[in-house]
Symmetry: C2
């Protein structure tokens, strides 16, 4: 089969890792998964969009997209903006791994709509477009008969969305609780060991855990985005930010964490999502807040940068998925699993 032609939008840490793996592990990916992929287009915020129908050089992708090297030129070219480049060119898959802001999810949202409207599947790690418009994008993909996948947006490389939506397909989702932010869980875990909030935050920053804006982690905005993504893609119901009651961990005191530990439990930053009716028909419970988790709670022993989701479905009962919640190569792994799923679906259709 012809190689999967990829538009790679975003050449930061995730895009760079991915380009590296698609190049260096080409043989293993072909042998194990029948995956043969070529990056034909690449974009970055600064350098516009480069395209080569014969395939871009994976090793120099960030540089090429950054504008410091010329495109190969054969059936290719360069456009000042990504959307112009996408509109002018062809591919079999959009891999959107840029980071669009919480305000409107743009320009990532427009990139994804452009692809889906042309029946081109989308794989993305770009959180906010999915948080704000996940249900719409999934419905558009379904109506166009193509895949829309965003595995890495929740718990990074730990498979949560595919496990809940596909592995548990057929079961009726009831509710979920989760620890969805690695930095917040790291800080609360340190505090359980006796550190102050300030010391724990400083330690998280030294370890390179905090995202660009630490407020996104400690005030809960990142977790809110993940709740919105889970709601849209697993429960099929789009939430607005203001529908999710959110309290961060900045006001958690050493006394509270010590008292929780003395009671055999932990203070955790817990995201909760539930619907009263199947398929999201009834009223919504969606909140993010520090909560006491006692002995026996599946979330009580999830420490450090590990994250977890406890999913309740009928007739399954409680399924818990625990794994690392952050890291560029982990996000890249989540994107890679999605690309393999798209390639496998394409093979089934050939």
């Amino acid at each position: 089969m012809r190689a999967l032609r990829i538009w790679l939008v975003g050449t930061g840490t995730v895009g760079t890792w991915l380009a590296g793996v698609l190049g260096s592990q080409r043989e293993r990916l072909a042998a194990s998964y029948g995956l043969s992929a070529t990056v034909v287009g690449a974009a970055s915020a600064r350098g516009g969009f480069v395209y080569d129908a014969g395939g871009l050089d994976l090793a120099s992708l960030p540089a090429a997209a950054g504008g410091r090297a010329a495109a190969a030129g054969r059936r290719g070219g360069r456009w000042p903006s990504t959307i112009e480049g996408l509109r002018a060119t062809e591919a079999d898959l959009l891999v959107e791994v840029s980071a669009s802001p919480a305000a409107d999810g743009e320009p990532g949202l427009t990139h994804m709509r452009e692809a889906l409207q042309r029946q081109i599947p989308v794989v993305t790690s770009n959180k906010w477009p999915v948080a704000l418009h996940g249900a719409e994008l999934a419905a558009l993909a379904r109506s166009q008969g193509v895949a829309f996948r965003a595995e890495s947006t929740v718990m990074s490389g730990t498979p949560v969305l595919s496990t809940l939506a596909e592995g548990l397909a057929g079961a009726v989702p009831v509710a979920l609780r989760g620890l969805l932010n690695a930095t917040a869980n790291f800080i609360l875990s340190q505090m359980a060991d006796g550190r102050s909030y300030e010391d724990a935050l400083a330690e998280a920053q030294r370890a390179g855990l905090a995202e660009r804006d630490p407020a996104a982690d400690v005030e809960g905005h990142d977790t809110v985005a993940k709740v919105m993504i889970l709601s849209g893609l697993v429960f099929g119901r789009q939430l607005r930010r203001e529908q999710i009651a959110c309290r961060g961990i900045t006001a958690v005191t050493g006394q509270e964490t010590a008292e929780a530990a003395a009671a055999g439990g932990r203070i955790r930053h817990v995201a909760t999502l539930g619907f009263t009716g199947p398929g999201g028909a009834g009223s919504v419970t969606a909140r993010v807040q520090p909560e006491f988790t006692g002995p026996g709670d599946p979330l009580v022993n999830v420490n450090g940068t590990t994250n977890a989701v406890v999913f309740e479905a009928d007739p399954v009962g409680q399924v818990t998925i625990t794994g690392p919640g952050a890291g560029p190569q982990l996000a890249g792994q989540g994107v890679l699993s999605d690309i393999i799923a798209v390639a496998s679906r394409r093979a089934a259709g050939s």
Copy 2:
């Protein structure tokens, strides 16, 4: 799209539950997953195989297959053995939910080979054919371009195989540890609370937890089968039974479980699987035995009939999946998720 025509082989608890759900939840499954399925053939060990190209009555399936009711007759008929019926008729999917013995996995194995050789996908909960020949069946399916899925054979309705093989696709599997038998974990959990082995076993039997032959659970044969399935379908390497060192829980004493509890841990019946080389190239570690799991071990707090798998892969690290390990409607749920995956793959190919 034309409804998915199913051969349903096995009309015990799993097959009956499944036939019920495909009938009673037809509208929800169509709306949520685009699944439209018709059971055209049904078989049981006693009653042979009945077929109706127009669809059998789902409500009376067990009776029909049991030979106590006549097939509808239109473009249909009855055959004394399942394999004769399969050979004489047509379908889009074989759902093999009978239970074949550990000795040779027959006749389930022959049913699955018959379907795959004719490019008909297979979904199964029939453990031993997959344990003994999983790698071969998966390779045959791949070469024929159709799906072979066995989600419910490991941890029942809790999605493990799809999560490890698809959700983590692209990652290099390194090793796994698991608690894979609900009965054994229930007994050891009871013993940790101070009961004797005999009392705990009797309690498990009263609760209807033990399989037909309780030895399969407490001596570890059931867990060995699951290790073989994981090895074949996740690591791509077929193990023979004798390659797995197995010690059951029958010799675990109250003193051992008490000492483990005093040390803050638990005795668990742990399955371990690891390969020294990627893709199963190197030497194999495969064993099933009672082991001390200490504080901090992801398996230490998995109690009662709950099961768990800790999967180690590169670059992901450790991912743990915890959920219910047994129950007929849970196995049915695992089969249903596989049927939905096949239907979705078929839709992509249309």
